[in-house]
Amino acid sequence: MSGITYKSGREPHPKEHRVVFKNIDREGWDTSIDTYMGEGGYDQLKKALTMEPTAITNEVKTAGLRGRGGAGFPCGVKWTFIPPNNTKPVYLICNADESEPGTFKDRYIIHQDPHQLIEGMIISCFAVGAHLAYIYIREEFPEGAQILEKAIAEAHEKGFLGKDIQGTGFDLEIFVHRGAGAYICGEETGLIESLEGKRPYPRIKPPYFPAAMGLYLCPTIVNNVETLCHVKHIMELGGEAWAKTGTPNNTGTRILCVSGDVKNPGYYEVEVGKVTMGEVINDMCGGLKEGRELKAVIPGGSSAKVLRADEVFKVGRGDDTRELTIWDIPMDFDTLAACGSMAGSGGVIVIDDSRSISWVLNNINNFYAHESCGQCTPCREGSLWMKKITDRVVAGKASPVDIETLEGVARNIDGRTICAFGEACSWPTESFIDKFKDELVSDTNSEMEEALVNPESVTAAANLG
């Protein structure tokens, strides 16, 4: 990027297109409001305050900005779900719970460029008519919470928050609310319950769509950190110009977080759909480790369905049908969905041939068993059963029948729970069985069947421990 120097060893890859991450790892950059304003910071807010709120929403809609938290739902459309005849207060919540395994992007925005987020939030609050907003930040970012509180105080001093912002008559307060280590608080209705001071049991939709009945049963907009930052850039460029980055229906840039078995894991901001999985792994991340071959990729956070290295994916419709290898997949929302997985939160976990699939799945199952909120029986019991079965597989104490049971448990969770955690916890198991059943079965031991069928036997006691 012209005129900007990045810290040595932290320079963006030439295939990156930095917008939200423009100031991350930048030489001479800090979190103060003076630094931010020295580069035109809060100018977009000043511009937005002269506009009609609906005009801002229309720009965001024109931009086609899709939520960067996981679901990829169009942000501007979400905003319009606030009932038009609403007389209740409207709240905006920034979801900074960043907890999907494999995702580590919001951390850098919060720690290195907090004012970008605050500016995006204030513009968004003005657009939706919110006068009270919260940043729900995960408890494991204690320093991030302090940085945000300092940034909010600075924005107050400069008159960008508080009463009568910039003489427009618009009032807004933003507060930082720290979570307490529960993954389920990333689910927006669970987050809202948590913010109300309760256990974060997700609410059922309908009727509890946050935009209609959210915090304190008032209309509430919940957006991800990265999404809210983009709002500022949409103001700067205009929705139409902003939408020229990325690809149709997959507009803008997004941050890919790559972890696992590559030489240079890290964060890479790219135009959505303009780079392929192969470019991400081989060019940006320097390829796989020496002598290793790709086995699988989890492309959008640990709840995204796994892709096997040798799969051929059929995408498109009719005459437009194309066959893609894993390396050819453009990193966008629609193609990854067409490949049977999802772009999710942008967390790409690369798995090479040195890894045991059973071990990987068991690690994931341990996570979901720990994090299920326990409200719905299929998820509470199912996530624990899946963990127990894969615990047995990795311990060499599972029978081949266990894999059938594992599949049966997984397929009876998704679609049967109040929130999407049911899908999040069952999709890994379902997809690992779909794609790596042979390897899972090969890690079982048919001699264990006796122990399972006759659990009271002495053999069972010895084998199942």
Binding site: E139, P142, R199, S259, S302, G347, R355, N363, N366, F367
Partner: protein
């Protein structure tokens, strides 16, 4: 027994409560964070104090404390360590990191269970637990010591030296 909350801390807590003009109950998490930060863990007295402060039945506070992994119900060591257990960190050696930290600090994790996840060293200097994804998956293995974040931890001696 009642909880002795210093005036400064109570002032800070009272200010935090003002962040929730619609409902005092919303301040449960911030009140508990402030208490845990000061007292190191949340005991029965802290639950009762928070409940009285927020005009809630103590059970409404206790159910929150027991749900969230971020609240401790037993005393940790002087320095509490959280090691990320989740996939990307596990792939980069977080289980080995946990073993090595336990060995160097003399912590025995054999008694750890889902409901009692923290193990403390005999001298009370360190305590440790596994945490789920700490959101720095590209730079594992990752751990937190108190509020400090440590990425790509390879030298355990070097890490522990920072905590005398």
């Amino acid at each position: 027994m009642s909880l002795e909350v210093p005036k400064e801390l109570e002032k800070e807590i009272d200010e935090r409560i003002t962040h929730y003009p619609e409902s005092k109950r919303s301040a449960v998490l911030p009140v508990l964070h402030a208490l845990q930060h000061h007292f190191r863990y949340i005991d029965e007295n802290a639950v009762e104090w928070a409940a009285a402060k927020l005009d809630l039945e103590p059970i409404k506070v206790l159910e929150v404390v027991t749900f969230y992994p971020g609240f401790r119900q037993t005393a940790p060591g002087k320095y509490h360590i959280r090691v990320c257990r989740t996939l990307s960190c596990a792939m980069s050696g977080s289980y080995e990191l946990m073993e090595s930290l336990c060995e160097k600090t003399g912590i025995d994790r054999s008694g750890v269970t889902h409901h009692d996840p923290i193990a403390v060293s005999a001298d009370g200097k360190f305590s440790i637990e596994f945490a789920e994804c700490l959101a720095s998956c590209g730079f594992g293995p990752v751990c937190m010591v108190e509020d400090d974040f440590h990425e790509a931890v390879t030298d355990v001696d070097e890490l522990l030296k920072q905590y005398p």
